[in-house]
Amino acid sequence: MARVVLRNLRKSFGALEVIKGVDLEIEDGEFCVFVGPSGCGKSTLLRMISGLEPHTSGAIEIGGRDVSGAEPSERGIAMVFQNYALYPHLTVRENIGFGLSLARVPKEERNRKVDAVAEVLQLGPYLDRKPKALSGGQRQRVAIGRAIVRDPEVFLFDEPLSNLDAALRSQMRIELTELHERLGSTMVYVTHDQVEAMTMADKIVVLNGGRIEQVGTPMELYESPATPFVAGFIGSPQMNLFEGGAARTMGCDVYGIRPEHLTISDGAGQWVGRVRHVERLGADTIVHLDVPDLGPLVARVDGGLTYAIGQQVHASPDPERAFKYRG
């Protein structure tokens, strides 16, 4: 069993508190994604779970065991780094087997385990190469291989795909998801990319300013974001959010409506505005409006519709899908 439990976890650098009391339970076998803007503390939180970053107070349990004082190597975790962190002077085989050789695992057993991992990741032909001679995607696989061979209870990923190009990234997303299904291990994954979070996660943890903003499945966060921050962070294009007078006329402090939940018509509608800019994506078209009552408003409409710049249109929100926040 490898549940990961964080209890009132805090971290300060001097007087600066960067993690301000985090309570979280990650179930066994769950794919949990930490997401948030840069500086929100998501990487620090992951490094605290790994033990690379000591925490200031609180407790960390992995598999029912309090590992707060344990060395990183004693926590039953493995980590995949953003820049892969492959040892440049070692071959792929030596890289994957490095931890085993430190643990003085006999050579035959070590080779057997490395070969098995290489088989899973299709790295067999590259075992005797140095990392320099590998492509980005292959290096990424070696880094994952180095994690798998440790047979950890928990995998930790620190923005592992951010150095890859867009095509490779979407391929690796699928590979990682398949890997998770095959291994069934608990995985904790840090990213700033909400697409990665939405597509891969069983559970998303949205962090902001060192605190948890909301925890839920991808669809829960999309359907019912608990705060305006989550509402603005999840979904693309971003949700339209209005504060002040415009929100008060709707009877709340912050009013939000997603671009895909707006209807645009030439006839009557709730708001009147002018088309400022049109982005054609093919299947969809994103229309940017200037609405005198609200300010800028973004709508996603069917790709077949056409609007001219400066054209006057009406926009209406789907009242069922609008979000109203207080305070």
């Binding site: 790994s50 990183p72 493995a78 780094f81 962190a85 040892y87 490095f98 430190l102 440790r150």
Partner: protein, 279 residues
Amino acid sequence: MTDRSLTARNYAMGVVALLLAFVVFIVPFLFVAINAMKTAPDAAQLDFSLPERWVFWENVVTTVQTRDYALLLAYWNSTLITVCAITILVIFGAMVGFVIQRRPSPVSRFVYVLILSGLMIPPAVVPTIWVLQGINLFKTLQGMILIQVAYGLGFTVLLFRAFIATIPRELDEAAIIDGAKPWQVFFRVVLPLLKPVTVTVIVVQSISIFNDFTHPLYYLPGRDNVTVQLTLYNFQSQFASQNNLLFMNILLITIPPLIVFVFFNRQIVAGMTSGAVKG
């Protein structure tokens, strides 16, 4: 500045520069080489004529045989001091540079400033002799080796620290998660990656230790401990009339740096200019 092709102007300037460089920098070395091949009376003229009789090999033999093969003993001593001091410098210096770079703290900064101060502060020679006598290392090769380590540490740590800054910290962290102890992180992951800067340290420090005259003069007196630079100095006082042998001696001790220079030009340049272009 932008036109890097060989224009007529650049060609002309190059030729003029070559002529000047020849007179200023190459002629003195030619002077050494020519006179090293002359007989003693011929070389006493100190002029630039070609040797009346070419006695290169005889001069080599005589120079080497002088004072019971003092030059060979000196070569052995200098090599021993250089090799041992550099081995210690590289390992211990890299360890210091590693922790100073990876663990920014008041302790690290204090150690760094202290070690760098060695680049500026002149060694207090007589008190150092007093300390060496106290630990029975005065007039010993071991003492000389440790002195060279102490005096070379500032430069070595400076170079290692700067280079280690370019090694991603994630490599250490990956090793820590793989279960490496601090000394394993250093010796199995970091040290193998320091090869380029280690070559630089070895080359630059070996030249400086091999060429060192002042410190062996103070800390390593005595016939049995003679080093290469001291033989040359002693030679001059003993054979004032035998310029040919003096120049042969200069020639013989200039060869090692020349060979090193030919093979490690790039590393020497890297080492000597580190810190010049401030980061």
